[in-house]
Symmetry: C2
Subunit: 370 residues, 2 copies
């Protein structure tokens, strides 16, 4: 029995070799296409793992909360993009980060948000670098590349002394899945939307050095990144059952797992484990995923899946594992559960147990909150 089996459960295990392999794979792919990575650190939320996946110890990096920005800034990261639309109430913290020497870029997609930023910047005599969020698939936020507001927005910011650094888009609909051809097409659509928005801004007199694209699926399926300046991806460091279903990775690439203990066997054969939704999250993955993998695939301590054995239900501190054949594991036995959505499962924990050759070599903390 590996040494880590003695860890109190539930616990979050991270296989260092798989993690580094996943990171190298996407980095090589993106570099081969001629651009660099600005990894999204919302997935790992840990400085050491961030250093593995960033191009340098100072960045570039992407974050989804100011708490992440502050945490990584304290660890020496200097080039950070906060990729969630900025609102006026968050500007004091953004300003403090910039005053502390961090090149923090903000994101927005409306005249209204720009007005708020400009009013604050004026009151403090500050200049914020801004990327304009561009919509490539109707998934979430952003202006269509040919929306006339894009240039109006850029001019408003420039006229108010702010720095329009470029455009940013995210092909969120790639997580819905489909055949490789669809994901390749979405990657191309994402690239084309960002490049088109940049061209429009350039013809209006903006240099637009930043042309930022990215989602973990499109980053892997992209066959060209021409015209872009950087790729954002985060889930690739761990991979998960959603990425496996999308064809982004194999089961053997998933670097994260939840160590759990069998606490009971039901009369119908189902196994009760001590890893409820507080440990696995309630994320069901994309369309059709839940039927395939439930709330996670159950593996032995060496990481080999028990054929068909999945988490079919969870309560706060219970998981019910069941398969076509459910192995009659004894009470007290340990298993490892592969996560449906690595970001969501990792968010349940305050730390990783880092495994190298089946031994715990470190405990890595995660930053929390907002």
């Amino acid at each position: 029995m590996p040494e880590f089996a003695a860890i109190s459960t539930p616990a979050l295990l991270l296989d260092e070799e798989r993690c580094r392999r996943n990171i190298a794979r996407l980095r090589d792919h993106v570099h081969a296409l001629g651009v660099g990575l600005r990894p999204h650190l919302k997935t790992c939320k840990n400085l050491e793992i961030a250093r593995w996946c960033m191009e340098s110890p100072t960045g570039p990096a992407t974050v989804s909360t100011l708490a992440e920005a502050e945490y990584f800034a304290a660890g020496g990261v200097r080039d950070i993009c906060y990729a969630v639309g900025i609102t006026p109430d968050k500007l004091p913290r953004a300003a403090a980060l910039r005053a502390g020497g961090v090149d923090l870029t903000l994101t927005l997609d409306s005249l209204e948000a720009a007005r708020g930023l400009i009013a604050f910047a004026r009151s403090r005599a500050l200049v914020f670098p801004v990327v304009l969020e561009t919509d490539c698939d109707g998934h979430r936020a952003g202006l269509a590349p040919d929306d006339p507001q894009l240039v109006i927005l850029a001019r408003m910011l420039r006229d108010a002394g702010q720095e329009v650094r470029g455009v940013l888009t995210h092909a969120g609909s790639a997580y819905d899945g489909g055949p490789p051809e669809r994901l390749q097409a979405l990657a191309e659509q994402e690239r084309a939307a960002a490049v088109r928005a940049a061209e429009i801004l350039r013809s209006a007199g903006f240099a637009c050095p930043v042309v930022s694209v990215g989602s973990t699926p499109t980053a892997h399926f992209a066959r060209s990144l021409e015209g872009t300046s950087e790729v954002r991806a985060g889930t690739h460091v761990f991979q998960d059952l959603v990425m496996r279903r999308l064809g982004v990775c194999a089961l053997e690439d998933i670097a994260l797992s939840v160590l759990a203990t069998v606490i009971g066997r039901r009369t119908d054969g189902g196994l009760l484990l001590d890893a409820g939704w507080t440990a696995l999250s309630r994320d069901r993955g994309g369309p059709g995923g839940f039927e395939e993998h439930g709330y996670g695939i159950v593996c032995d301590l060496d990481g080999r899946p028990y054929p068909g054995l999945c988490i079919r239900d969870t309560n706060q501190e219970h998981a019910l594992a069941r398969g076509p054949y459910t192995p009659p594991l004894p009470v007290g036995a340990k298993v490892r559960i592969l996560p449906v959505h690595a970001c969501a499962t990792a968010a349940c924990f305050d730390e990783y147990h880092l495994l190298r050759d089946g031994r715990v070599v470190a405990r890595l903390s995660r930053c929390r909150g907002w």
Copy 2:
């Protein structure tokens, strides 16, 4: 605009008046039926709120993790039931709690788990009080009341010098909903199963003082608790959209909400908020619930719902709110989101902002981890 609108978002708000009213309501109901409460503290995970809902500052109380047991024990709670099946690896911490003066009761439902407990207890010359988990609805764990193993298990524990304190059951299937008649029937079924198991144990010579039942829905719908000794419930302190759908509470009873900020408006009218699944959880509620309330109902700062406005999608740090009519709230506006599942939403946060008369009067921390 209320003072709390200045809090950094997302943030967890707790309306003290609603919370205390919810607590009083269930306490009065259960007392009127002749028994006491052993509230499940997995929902609140905070000592002050625990004191509001326990019968006394020392308990009794129910917990779902040993971390909760340790946290509440440090706060003076002395009568604690750990209501998740015990495994051998967790016994050293259980023993430490008991050595520290806590009357910690353990739960199990199999000969196998009993053997593990007995072996450990012998090696340390300890006596653990144990309740035997009984199944009343096939939902999760426990032995059927008339399963001959129940008495065998009790005898095995007694013969090994352990204390068989009674039986415990949980009508988990009540969360699936249905008309009031179904919930009343499930409450009666839960009561009857526990009482039957206790009777069988008594006729085998066990005093069986503990006859523990409970789930928030069955606790509210029970019309008799005859023969039981205590009721466990936890979600009642906050209530949520699942409980409202079950008819347990009204919308106006929900004491918990997530304060969020509008970060953008989509061209289709949808509002983007800065409260993603890291703040709301991915819990969709019971059957049919998601169609009704999505990931939460959006209210103004006074807690009045915008008609039909729900969270229809979430990403890590984004929520998309949409309704039949979506109010064109400005970027930077604040809203409050009522939780689908209070336990899951609260678990996203490290603290509550406690509101009294619309003012923040305290920040209450939550215990975390396992």
